[in-house]
């Protein structure tokens, strides 16, 4: 069955070609069906492969399927090959499964848009690239997918390229979604640069880019704490911070919300942004050999989780809140990876994909119903107008808040527990506070949007979304509830199936990791109770404040004016980047590099040599005078020269 993996990758690409080339002539329905079924069939094949893998004994589950020899140049030999194993099939299921639901949802959401077919073509292309990313068996193919999803992200953020877009004040003048797209692209370039350098270093060190070879060699010959390995893993992680929106490169994700909401759900919540997590997990062996990098991953993760959550507390744009929440949850995943709980990190990728996609799609339904209004201060009381959206949104909010037995509880708790037992108490405490903040801002969002008084003008008539949008919501809601059951910890009598499933992937890394001091069951129960408590407390305070005491909110805001201002402006990170990085580079490039160096020196040389060549060219063409006798004369001259060389040697 695993041989069919190439179809998995190919189908979305065919979908992209069909819609991309002929889409203009298709009806909306047809475009939507082509786009969705390309991903739906892919998902079905992935499920079949998954079940076949389940039947196989553990050691036979991993396969490499070579499609063709891609590049062969000197000692560099790279195959276009896919690695089908426990980790990649799980990612494939998430990407295609959630992707399929979002495709279906988009049929309803994008209805009436003049770029309907283009939208589906891009979405299919994205799925194709994402599958290359997660299925690649070598760094280069992964990088192709990595760049490809970046491109799709760019195209889709700027999908409505002339639409106005609110930067939140850090940029003066009018901005359009193209600016947001550009920002995402440029920020990601910095990360990609790290990825590239890391790849060069890996090739230099091991002479190959294939995962299997690199990991087995690294495991065998590289000592723990090796300096080169530290730089490789750190640079790879720089790539991950770009793609997965971590400190210091997280700034693009909130702006990426300028794209259509299904895009935010698919790319900027469920799949692409988790690519960094996947990549670090895939390279777990390398990280295990570089403890210092792991420490950095954990610290960056927990810091991002915390700061993003605080920024989410005060935002009013429904999608921005979800964006900060995504950044924060990704931080949790990296915390898990950083303390060596790779399986827990991937587990959270999965549950997060369910509930965050659901939250975004729910938000999309709301925005749709409110005629493109995104400010939650201008919403309220939508509960009765949109019952299905409300209920599913509520479930997702409970899941992210970590209320048992919903999916978010198990994965987040697993990370916090591992952070405590294999990391440090500090990680746990900050993670624990963040969990409370998460519950708080999520229920602030729920309360302000769906409950309480209606704060919208009555020329709007909010209505429930059509079936094609609500059915995906319901399916995702079910997944958000039950999705965590695959990872019930031993302490609660479960088998932690997902950790067992992924165990062979991380076996090599775990060999190098010192996991020793296991705290007892009592501690585990205690921490669990603590985290449920903080989740419930967050929900309680949010509802108390925003439903019953809106005046108190006002008062709190005024008395903590400075903190509020700091959070409202997102710690001024954008402004700081603008002043320290963007402006000097722009000015420097403009004055010095462009007008001085480029125009003066480079262009001078280039244009000079071009002019010289053109001059020689116009001179030389005169030899071609057209008379056949002269042609023959040149011919004879040639003969004399050639025979001269041959005979005289």
């Amino acid at each position: 069955m695993h041989e069919y993996i190439s179809y998995i990758v190919l189908l979305p690409f065919i979908g992209f070609l069909i819609n991309g080339i002929f889409g203009k002539k298709f009806s909306e329905k047809f475009s939507g069906i082509i786009g969705s079924s390309a991903v739906g069939i892919t998902f079905a094949i992935a499920v079949m492969i998954f079940f076949e893998m389940l039947k196989l004994p553990v050691e036979e589950r991993s396969h490499i399927v070579t499609i063709f020899s891609w590049i062969a140049a000197g000692s560099l030999s790279i195959n276009a090959a896919y690695q089908v194993d426990q980790l990649s099939i799980l990612m494939t299921l998430i990407v295609t499964g959630v992707g399929f639901l979002i495709h279906v949802y988009s049929i309803g959401y994008m209805h009436g848009d003049k770029g309907f077919w283009r939208f589906f073509a891009y979405l299919n292309l994205f799925i194709f690239m994402m599958l290359n990313l997660v299925l690649a068996d070598n760094f280069l193919l992964m990088f192709l997918g990595w760049e490809g999803v970046g491109l799709c992200s760019y195209l889709l953020i700027g999908f409505w390229h002339d639409k106005k877009f609110d930067t939140g004040g850090y940029k003066t003048g009018e901005a359009t979604t193209s600016d947001a797209a550009k920002k995402a692209f440029v920020v990601n370039r910095i990360g990609d640069f790290g990825f590239l350098i890391a790849m060069f270093l890996i090739f230099n060190l091991f002479g190959t880019l294939a995962f299997e070879d690199v990991f087995s060699r690294a495991s065998a010959i590289i000592p723990i704490g090796d300096t080169t390995m530290f730089w490789i893993t750190l640079l790879l992680f720089l790539g991950a911070t770009g793609k997965s929106a971590q400190i210091p490169l997280f700034v693009w994700l909130p702006d990426a919300m300028a794209g259509p909401t299904p895009v935010s759900a698919l790319i900027h919540a469920a799949t692409m942004v988790t690519a960094g997590v996947y990549m670090v997990a895939r390279c777990s062996v390398l990280y295990a050999l570089a403890p210092a990098s792991m420490e950095i991953v954990a610290i960056v993760g927990i810091a991002t989780a915390f700061f993003a959550a605080t920024m989410g507390l005060v935002q009013n744009d429904i999608k921005k809140i979800l964006a900060y929440s995504t950044i924060s949850q990704l931080g949790y995943m990296f915390l898990g990876l950083g303390v060596g709980a790779f399986a827990a990190g991937i587990f959270h990728v999965m549950t997060h994909a369910f509930f965050k996609a659901l939250l975004f799609l729910g938000a999309g339904a709301v925005i749709h119903a409110m005629h493109d209004e995104q400010d939650i201060q201008k919403m309220g009381g939508l509960k009765s107008k949109m019952p299905a959206t409300y209920k599913t949104f509520f479930i997702a909010a409970l899941a992210i808040a970590g209320i048992p037995p919903l999916s978010g509880f198990f994965s987040k708790d697993e990370i916090l527990w591992k952070a405590f037992s294999d990391g440090s108490v500090v990680y746990f405490i900050i993670g624990w506070i963040t969990a409370g903040l998460t519950a708080f801002y999520m229920f602030r969002l729920v309360s302000l949007t769906f409950e309480g008084k209606e704060r919208w003008s009555h020329d709007k008539h909010p209505h429930e979304a059509p079936k094609v949008m609500t059915v995906p919501l319901i399916i995702l809601a079910v997944l958000s509830v039950v999705g965590g059951f695959v990872g019930i910890p031993h302490a609660l009598g479960g088998g932690n199936a997902i950790e067992q499933w992924l165990e062979p992937i991380f076996k090599r890394a775990n060999l190098h990791l010192a996991t020793g001091h296991h705290s007892g069951l009592t501690t585990e129960y205690l921490l669990m109770i603590l985290s449920v408590f903080v989740g419930v407390a967050g929900i309680y305070f949010a509802r108390k404040l925003y439903l019953q005491n809106p005046e108190l909110v006002e008062r709190l805001t005024t008395s903590f004016r400075n903190i509020h201002k700091l959070l409202w402006n997102k710690y001024f990170v954008d402004e700081i980047y603008d002043a320290t990085v963007v402006t000097p580079i722009v000015k420097g490039s403009d004055k010095l590099l462009w007008k001085g160096f480029d125009v003066g020196i480079i262009d001078g040389i280039v244009n000079g040599s071009a002019k010289l060549t053109a001059w020689i060219s116009s001179w030389m063409r005169k030899i071609q005078f057209g008379a056949v006798q002269n042609y023959a004369m040149v011919f004879v001259l040639g003969i004399i020269i050639i025979l001269g060389i041959l005979i005289l040697k």
Binding site: F68, S69, W70, A72, A610, T613, A614, I616, S617, S618, M620, R621, Q624, G626, V628, N630, Y631, A632, V634, F635, L637, G638, I639, I641, I642, L643, I645, L646, I647, K649
Partner: protein
Amino acid sequence: MNITELFAIAPIISITIVSLIVLLVEALVKRSEGLSYWISVVGLVVTAYFAIATLPLIGTAFNRMVTVGGFGSMFATLFSIAALLTIILSKDYLQKEHANFTEFYLLILFSTLGMMLMASAADLIVIFLGLELMSICLYVLAGFLRKKVLANEASLKYFLLGAFATGFLLYGIALLYGASGTTNISFIVQNSSTLSASPFFWIGLGLLLIGFAFKVGAVPFHMWVPDVYQGSPTTVSGFMATGAKAAAFAAFVLIFLHPQSENSEQVKTVLAVISAASMIVGNIIAISQSNIKRMLAYSSIAHAGYMLAGLAAGNQLGKTGILFYLVTYTFMNIGAFGILSLLEREEDKNLTFDDYAGLGFKRPFLAALMAIFMFSLAGIPPFAGFFGKYYVFVAAINANLTWLAILGVLMSVVSVYYYLRLTVLMYFKEGDMQIEGIISKTSLAVLTIAALIIIQLGVYPSSILNIINNLN
């Protein structure tokens, strides 16, 4: 002669029969061009089939006059495909020029037969036979649009200089025969170390080399190329630039890259000098052309130069590189000339660079195809043209001809100017090209296939490399 030998040269027999059928149809049927067109198309497909089927064969046939299978069959496949594409693209063109006559198809078929003979020759006489058959047909084809002054000029110039070159070639064969007592290629090549004592051997070899260099359009035997390509029917120019050039390169490879020999230093020097001169002259003069057909003519001189670099290298990689190059070059050049032929209008309209301004907006699909062909000709990845250049240059470096590889890369940079100039004009300038009349779906389909093959070979070069490397 026996049946096995006949089967062994099945592609040659097949194309001969097809040619003869068309000849008869021409004589017996009135208004036969439609029928001949279809016979030619089907016949070429059948020939290509036979050529592929005979690929695994090894050895020689007919008293060591021709080699069978392998190399010759690969080229037979290439020639059949080139002829097929040319014929399909020509139909519209000839109707437009009011010159749709059966003779056209007949001449293309006969010249294809000549090319196949050249590529599967085991004897100098067969090479000469094939070369003459091919050339005479091409002289006529060059002047096929006989009411045009330029066409007459092209035909006459081509004939005069061609005859001139043939004289030298034949003289070279005679001298080699004189020096060695045989015209068998293997024998001459194997005994080259003993033969090389005689100056006649060197003169003979030199004249042979000059004869082929004329056919590939290498400097300084290139003077005919721009005038002939410009005056010939556009699709025929494409055919000359690909089929005829490939046939001459096949002959080159048969003698100068023979598996049982190694080129002496002076042959290597001569080839390297010709290669360098072709790259420089072709690319630099191409810059100042305003007529796209002439630009492509100079570009084809430059491409001959790149391929000669692989020949000068004289190693296995060079051979692989040339063959790969020829395959890709056939598709991109027939493609480029094909588009020219579709857009060309009577009295040589729509042939200058300026005419192509704004094509990207008016005919986005055609313009995209043209852009693909141009990018590939310029050698920009992921198109096939890149790998062709890559292999011949690497071969040159391996053969200690680093200077030639560097020159080649520099000249490729120069070539980017005139290839991209067309692309820039198509997409960034407004223009007022008049393209009335429909462009046939068949032609578009053929061009699309050519473009897809270029992309496929560029993304996945191993597909054809495996075949080339397994040739015997």
